[in-house]
């Protein structure tokens, strides 16, 4: 039913809450992209069918719902039993009857499905006790994993649109902007521009027709926070955009979502439809007299379309290429009309800030970076997934306490933040508090919140090469420094990794980096040198080893690395022979094995599985002594 006044809104929220409370127990099955890939749809269906077939709704008061991503994708499919908050991981269809019988009926735990802390090796029963969740404070992700993204009433029961009702009925647009200013909210897309300042500029801009846009074109390798928010709690994004439109004086909006996020497109579409039906979108929202409607624009998947001016060209139906921004989008943006663009996470923060007050949000963080920030924690850490933490949290806390440390307890080498525009920070920077300024000062960037953890088996030259290759493919090619510069830079890095590095390469790289930073048209080209410059800054010796000794100190560049099995303590356990893809390893059981250099492709698989640490690598073309010298670095 359409909600047509503030009173009716409050009544609808009350009704939704009451309906939620009336459900005694609930089984939540995560149906975010990660869990879906692991088969959670079948698990959800199995619960549905069992509850239906056995009449458990009547007998046990048991209900079932699917939720968005809990962020703990590594352990999916995830199932949570409420109200106890019991978490089961890696649940299969065949586990469903047992869960219903033992846990739901008899209150018994199933240890096999419980999460085991990789550090303490202890099983942890409850969701909130798991270190991965315990340390988190979730604002933008407040309802992800808790609400059914397809159920507006469930969202209302969890507080969705309460910020909107407050803004529309109790605040003027200027008061809304003042509240956002008090919260200290800055752009969560990475650049960190003050949100209130952006809104103010667009509010002041002359013009009857204005737009608010949402940037859902998250494209950094390893980043998926925006996807999870759009998939798991689409109403938080929509609510933020309506509030922003009210503050700015816009009546039209676009959600720009990349088409590679099909579930986000579907869930946002359903949420928009549901919001329209209930009078939360469209003409005369909640009877307040304010009109605003929203459309989804699907992106074709070009990374550069995450750049604001390219994004606007893409929505207009033109080639997604950036243009000079000497005139701001707040004056001339989409269709050359005043436009305000914010990131998914920023929009998601807005509703909570208005509902709880700017001071509440500003209570977290550092002097210049307030509130909480979502990150996608990936790479060589034990717990990968989606996290949200107060600004100013140290990298060490994130990697060691939440991430649970490095996989296989190998040494930490670097953490990459900010995607292709960011950089790598080494071990001695682990105590840095994460905020916009600190990351930039140290050669990295907040970016879209990707955090890739790397262990000692990572070649930093290769990491820079990887990002260059990505950008070389994703550069639009409009301006010379980015298009030609990236191509030439990649040439140099491919030579370095193949042992064709020449003296002077580092200087050539640096010269090109500076020209690209200064001369490129948009931020893609201007920030493209960051992964290169930050690895040069902290790992210059690795570059030098590649050039001078034709050696890869991490043993990852295949053209430079050879492997051998050392006499002691090889026990002939055969594990290496099993993983070798080219059958290059031979040896009798319980006797020392040998690698045939003619067959070995230097993939390092044997090195990674050897339980006795008796496989070592050395530069293919250099001396073994040089290899030892680098190993000591």
């Amino acid at each position: 039913m359409r909600i047509e006044s503030h009173q009716q809104f409050d009544a609808a929220v009350e009704a939704a809450r009451a309906a939620k409370l009336s459900k005694g127990r609930e089984v939540w099955v995560c149906c975010g992209t990660g869990c879906l890939a692991n088969g959670s749809r079948a698990v959800a269906k199995a619960f549905d069918e069992r509850i239906e077939a056995e009449g458990l709704q009547a007998s046990l008061g048991l209900y079932h719902k699917t939720t968005g991503c809990h962020g703990f994708c590594e352990r999916g499919p995830l199932v949570v039993i409420q109200p106890e908050g019991l978490l089961y991981t890696k649940v299969k269809v065949t586990d469903v009857p047992e869960i219903l019988e033992k846990t739901v009926r008899n209150g018994e735990a199933i240890p096999r499905l419980q999460y085991k802390d990789p550090v303490t090796k202890q099983a942890v029963a409850k969701y909130e006790d798991i270190p991965f969740y315990k340390h988190q404070i979730r604002v933008s992700m407040r309802n992800i994993g808790r609400v059914d993204p397809e159920d507006l009433d469930d969202a209302l029961a969890h507080g969705a649109y309460s910020g909107l009702a407050k803004a529309l009925f109790a605040m003027t647009p200027d008061q809304v902007i003042a509240e956002i200013e008090a919260s200290g909210l800055r752009g969560r897309g990475g650049a960190g521009f003050a949100t209130a300042r952006k809104w103010k500029a667009c509010r002041k801009a002359k013009g009857e027709r204005k737009f608010v846009l949402c940037n859902g074109d998250e494209g950094d390798p390893g980043a998926f926070k925006d996807r999870s928010i759009m998939e798991g709690d689409p109403h938080s994004v929509i609510e933020g955009m309506i509030i922003g439109a009210y503050a700015i004086g816009a009546h039209e909006g676009y959600l720009y979502v990349r088409d590679e996020y099909p579930l986000a497109v579907v869930n946002l579409g359903k949420a928009i439809e549901a919001a329209r039906l209930r009078g939360l979108l469209g003409a005369n929202i909640l009877g307040s007299g304010f009109d605003f409607d929203l459309r989804i624009s699907r992106g074709g998947g070009a990374f550069v379309c995450g750049e604001s001016s390219a994004l606007m060209r893409s929505i207009e139906g033109r080639t997604g290429e950036p243009r000079a921004k000497y005139v701001h989008a707040s004056d001339k943006g989409l269709f050359d009309l005043p436009t305000n663009l914010n990131n998914v996470e920023t929009w998601s923060d807005v509703g909570a800030i208005i509902a709880n007050g700017g001071a509440w949000f500003a209570g977290w963080g550092t002097p210049k970076s307030k509130g909480t920030k979502a990150f996608s924690l990936v790479g060589k850490v034990k717990n990968t997934g989606l996290i949200e933490l107060p600004m100013g949290t140290t990298l060490r806390h994130i990697i060691e306490d939440i991430g649970g440390g490095i996989l296989k307890d190998r040494p930490f080498k670097a953490v990459q933040t900010g995607g292709p525009s960011g950089g790598c920070l080494p071990a001695d920077q682990l105590d840095l508090p994460v905020d916009y300024e600190v990351l930039s000062e140290n050669g990295s960037m907040m970016g879209s919140g990707g955090m890739i953890v790397m262990d000692d088996r990572t070649c930093m030259v290769d990491v820079a090469r990887y990002f260059l290759k990505f950008l070389c493919e994703e550069s639009c090619g409009k301006c010379v420094p980015c298009r030609e510069g990236l191509k030439q830079m990649l040439h140099i890095f491919e030579d370095l990794c193949a042992g064709r590095g020449r003296p002077g390469d580092i200087e050539r790289i640096e010269r090109l980096c500076h020209a690209m930073q200064l001369g490129s048209l948009c931020e893609l080209g201007k920030s493209a040198p960051n992964p290169v410059l930050s690895t040069l800054r902290y790992f210059r010796h690795e570059y030098e080893a590649h050039i001078q000794d034709r050696a890869c100190p991490a043993g990852m560049c295949r053209d430079l690395t050879a492997y051998e099995i050392v006499e002691e303590p090889c026990t002939g356990c055969h594990q290496c022979t099993r993983v070798c893809p080219t059958d290059a390893i031979s040896g009798k059981p319980k006797q020392k094995h040998v690698i045939d250099p003619a067959k070995c492709i230097s993939c390092g698989s044997c090195f990674d599985v050897c339980p006795e640490d008796c496989i070592r690598f050395f530069p293919k073309n250099g001396s073994k002594e040089a290899a030892n010298a680098h190993a000591d670095h």
């Binding site: 080639t319 000497y326 550069s475 090619g477 010379v480 298009r483 200064l518 001369g519």
Partner: protein, 263 residues
């Protein structure tokens, strides 16, 4: 009218104009490759970079492209700072690697002291610098027969599906505007061929010269209320006719100067 300082000179420039015009009006040379008065500025070649500052910025500069930076009152522009020159040198160095055999690039790079590229030479040398003038003039003509395709290092200018472009009218605007003569066409009396497409020519009813393609006349016919017959007469004959009319109105005989002007 905003007043700015360019390389120490005080310059006045009208509101809404770009820095490049202000520099040129002040007699300061700025290199460009993607700029042309017939089309909107683009900001692609990055050669017209200059440093901009203000007294209150305490020595902080920002580098902008002059072709797109709107003039502002009180800015101080340095068109030849070391980092400006170095950025231009790198851009030209990169272009020379891409187009090692292109005389325009060789000459421009040479004027910045770059005679040999320090980067990897393009194994398939091309004259196309991807300045986008051809696609922009084609858009400006209202035709949009060609566009840039692919992105990044693979970017090129091509008709749709790299087949003879259905919308092309053979006007040659792209070939005429191309600064490196990369876009080639063949013309013989009564025939024209560009982008793999053949065009039939229309003869001027007065002098008989094949001066315009039939497709061109069809495309322009009726635009802004101008009849097709207007396009059928060649420019030279139109000028002659105009001169004759003017002479008649002035009551005198035609003069050699007018004859010369009509070529």
């Amino acid at each position: 009218m905003p007043t700015l300082t360019i390389d120490g000179k005080t310059v006045h420039a009208p509101h809404g104009t770009f820095l490049l015009a202000a520099c040129r009006a002040a007699g300061i040379e700025i290199p460009t490759l993607c700029e042309h008065p017939a089309v909107e500025p683009y900001g692609g070649c990055r050669l017209c970079v200059v440093d901009v500052t203000r007294p209150e910025w305490n020595g902080w500069n920002k580098m902008v492209v002059a072709c797109l930076f709107p003039v502002e009152d009180g800015i101080i522009v340095d068109t030849r700072s070391e980092r400006v020159l170095e950025t231009r040198r790198v851009v030209l160095d990169l272009l020379l690697a891409r187009c090692p055999e292109t005389p325009l690039i060789q000459a421009l790079a040479g004027s910045y002291g770059v005679t040999k590229t320090s980067f990897v030479l393009n194994p398939e040398p091309t004259d196309c610098i991807l300045c986008g003038l051809c696609t922009r003039i084609c858009d400006r003509m209202g035709i949009s027969a060609i566009s840039s395709v692919d992105r990044g290092a693979g970017r090129e200018i091509a008709p749709p599906f790299k087949e003879p472009p259905p919308d092309c009218v053979g006007c040659l605007a792209c070939a005429e505007i191309c600064p490196t003569n990369h876009i080639r066409y063949e013309a013989s009396d009564g025939r024209r061929r560009i982008w793999g497409k053949d065009f039939e020519m229309l003869r001027c009813p007065r002098c008989g010269r094949a001066h315009i393609t039939v497709a061109q006349a069809d495309f322009f016919a009726g635009k802004n209320g101008v009849p097709r017959s207007y396009f059928e007469t060649c420019d030279a004959c139109k000028r002659k006719e105009l001169a004759a009319t003017a002479t008649k109105l002035a009551g005198g005989a035609s003069t050699p100067a007018v004859e010369q002007g009509t070529r």
